[in-house]
């Protein structure tokens, strides 16, 4: 398996505060990799640093053999990295279709029609609501839309920031089922989650982040039974 993306000793500072400390991780092609950790551990910072917001202060982010840590956000986005940002961030005043079209910004609209059909196949709920304004949909549907929008740019690597945020447990289950379906199409997924239980069950490999450092790593199954992880993130039993 070839390495798709790799963090090498990445430091990130917000002014005097160090948010990431010598973070190293790899994502291989075709894998689902998850990064779990508590609030404020630096998970979202890590994800946003791929897009240069914030810029890393030292280290390297290698994507397909190229250091992208100093590239602009649109360069990164147009080279096969797509993100479903934290809190969904869909465009509330636009319809579902329009939101999906906005996802094609990095690659242009050549495949828009075909890809949209594919998304509607993957997310039948979105098809029902294709001409509805996104703000009028439920949280789960909005999350589906955010994922579908990210997929519209035909990414090599899909980055997800807390897709379970603020959703009811049953909807979270649905979302993770969808992620499984997406992964079965061969998509590489890097998932940042607080919901460790779901995330580790889905993922091939996982990293545990504490205070800006990678504390533990292993396969999803290993981490699920790891006593430290169980105590900290899975309620201890």
């Amino acid at each position: 398996m070839t390495t798709l993306m790799q963090f090498k000793d990445v430091d990130v500072h917000y002014g005097p505060i160090q948010a990431l400390k010598k973070v190293s991780l790899t994502v291989d092609e075709g894998e689902i990799v998850t990064l779990i950790g508590a609030n404020g551990a630096g998970k979202s910072t890590l994800l946003m640093s791929i897009f240069g917001q914030p810029r890393i202060s030292s280290g390297e982010i290698i994507y397909r053999g190229e250091d992208i840590s100093q590239k602009s956000a649109h360069y990164v986005a147009s080279h096969g990295l797509a993100q479903s940002p934290e809190g969904r961030r869909i465009f509330p005043g636009m319809t579902v279709e329009e939101n999906l079209l906005m996802g094609t910004i990095p690659i242009g609209m050549d495949h828009a029609e075909e890809d949209m059909q594919r998304m509607f196949g993957l997310f039948p709920r979105l098809l029902e609501r294709r001409n509805q304004r996104a703000s009028t949909m439920s949280g789960g549907e909005q999350q589906m839309l955010a994922i579908a929008r990210a997929l519209m740019s035909r990414p090599k690597l899909l980055l997800l920031d807390e897709p379970s945020l603020g959703l009811a447990p049953i909807i979270v289950k649905q979302i993770f089922q969808i992620l499984k379906d997406v992964a079965s199409t061969g998509m590489t997924i890097f998932l940042v989650e607080q919901n460790a239980n779901h995330a580790l069950k889905l993922a091939n490999r996982g990293y545990v982040m504490v205070n800006g450092e990678i504390r533990l790593t292993g396969t999803g199954a290993e981490l699920l039974v790891n006593p430290e992880v169980r105590d900290a993130y899975l309620g201890g039993h």
Partner: protein, 424 residues
Amino acid sequence: MSQAVGINFKKSSVDAFIAGLMALVLFGPIVGVVLDGYGFNAEFGRVAWIVAVVAVGRFVMSSFLQTEKGIALAFRYANSDDGVTVLPPGHKSKMIWIIPLVIAVGLLIPFIASKYVLTVIILGLIYVLLGLGLNIVVGLAGLLDLGFVGFYAIGAYGLALGYENLGLGFWSMLPIAAILAAFAGAILGFPVLRMHGDYLAIVTLGFGEIIRLILTNWASFTHGPNGVSAPLPTFFGLEFKRRSRDGETFHEFFNIPYDSAYKYMFIYIVLFAVVWAVLFIKHRLVKMPIGRAWEALREDEIACRSLGLNHVLVKLSAFMIGASTGGLAGVFFATYQGFVNPSSFTFFESALILAIVVLGGMGSTLGVVIAAFCLTVLPEMLREFAEYRVLMFGILMVVMMIWKPRGIVRVTRTGFSPKKGVVK
């Protein structure tokens, strides 16, 4: 509705009493005490009248809102949907026939309207241009710009100073002023790329003031508060003056008696054409990827960045295109007045343009056109009430924000679809 419908007069009376008390506090000192030489006159009669009117009005309104009709009305406004209406992508408006009608009527106006009416309409059209320009920045891209008058001033002074220093006439300055204003838009745009909301508003407010202060104080170039005269447009080189030092004038060439209205007719026709051109360009831009990018930027900037939208280009293009439209309006203003000085470009002007955009409905082209005419033509028609103009302006704003917070014309737009605008 399960609650019993009946008028609770006690509640209405209390409402009326409170409103009356507030009116007394507010109007007591303002209306009740009149300065007379070095002393004061107490005019309690007038205060009593105002308080009575307010109290009775509140009583009637309070009672009405308790009736079934009133409740329904209040409910409707409390729950008015505040979003954009999106029409399905293939939608064609049935009102399309109105465009040729408006063009036909518009072209007839200069030949039937009196000179005075024509000048008022020209002013209205200038504000339509300004409104359309600001509408791109505020309405579409969501960047609150309080210094739009700066671009207007650049256009107007561009014509006046370009004529004085470089001998450039109306026709050469029209595009040049638009480009100048666009550059100014870029200069303003760069430092404010990272700002939004209140901070952006303050910086742009400062920009507008800087332009005005430069015009006032750089007396050796701009002649300061004395102003500069601006040239009239020419009709294929023919001037609209009574007599010309070089060459023939318009009325001599066509062998018709001189009439000072000719120049306004000509300005009107050119302006009318430019307004339609701007309307058309704006209409196309909204449907192009750049228009979608503006709207996306207004809706959620962080999402835009995560989608890899180049926000530098998007913001700058909004500022530049909006500014160039403002510059065009400035050129027309200068040639219409024949003279410019800094006092035409105060903050009040920026506020007025913003009011046009907000009243018209942010992002709505038709609304902006209607609002621009309302806010410029109505004050002219109400000349007798000149003293109360600003008061009426304020009342209009308050009433509009209560009853129609999304503007005169709710923004409806046709949805984007992948088939349209695909460039392969």
